[in-house]
Amino acid sequence: GAGVSQSPRYKVAKRGQDVALRCDPISGHVSLFWYQQALGQGPEFLTYFQNEAQLDKSGLPSDRFFAERPEGSVSTLKIQRTQQEDSAVYLCASSPSRGLGNEQFFGPGTRLTVL
């Protein structure tokens, strides 16, 4: 079956531009996570959705970052007025439900480069 997909795979933006990153989770998965992975580092949590509800956005680094999952499936991470420090790989992960330490299935990521 299809795994988690993300688009675009690569994005180059000029400083100050807005970008939108898309995540298609595995069909039927309730939980969806966004992580930010800086070069040479481990992923860091950004935000979490349970179906369409954004239950935790404590990891979003600033109010320029916004995420949504309006119908409980596809999610979009939007970054407004991009800055150079936003350059990173953005990973999306989904899991079938909460509880029981479910495995998170990761997408290939979107590499964002801000010039």
Binding site: G3, S31, F33, Y35, G40, Q41, G42, P43, E44, F45, Y48, Q50, L55, D56, G59, V89, L91, A93, S95, R98, G99, G101, N102, E103, Q104, F106, G107, P108, G109
Partner: protein, 118 residues
């Protein structure tokens, strides 16, 4: 807050040998899971093995096994009979089961780059 430490940025081992990757963590929680994820150069993160904190028995998955020392907060990964396809970044990760709103987010270490030498 939880922290995860991987003190070996890079390791290399000859094919068919055994290698152990180290991980320590810090938490005040008692109910959690620990994971090892593999990230090959293509970047897609793959689960290698998972350990439930309340289980004393160490998890094993084929050539992969863990040494879980709860009191010492240590969670090392042993790869036996290493293969060229094991070359990847390996991340240790912590999941707290008592997070608010059921958010079972992962807290990752900084990773260990493992190279298997032919």
């Amino acid at each position: 807050a939880q922290t995860v430490t991987q003190s070996q940025p890079e390791m290399s081992v000859q094919e068919a040998e055994t290698v152990t990757l180290s991980c320590t963590y810090d938490t005040s929680e008692n109910n959690y899971y620990l994971f090892w994820y593999k990230q090959p150069p293509s970047r897609q993160m793959i689960l290698v093995i998972r350990q439930e904190a309340y289980k004393q028995q160490n998890a094993t998955e084929n050539r992969f096994s863990v040494n879980f020392q709860k009191a010492a907060k240590s969670f090392s990964l042993k790869i036996s009979d290493s293969q060229l396809g094991d070359t990847a970044m390996y991340f240790c990760a912590f999941m707290n089961l008592h997070a608010n709103f059921g958010n079972e987010k992962l807290t990752f270490g900084t990773g260990t780059r493992l190279t298997i030498i032919p």
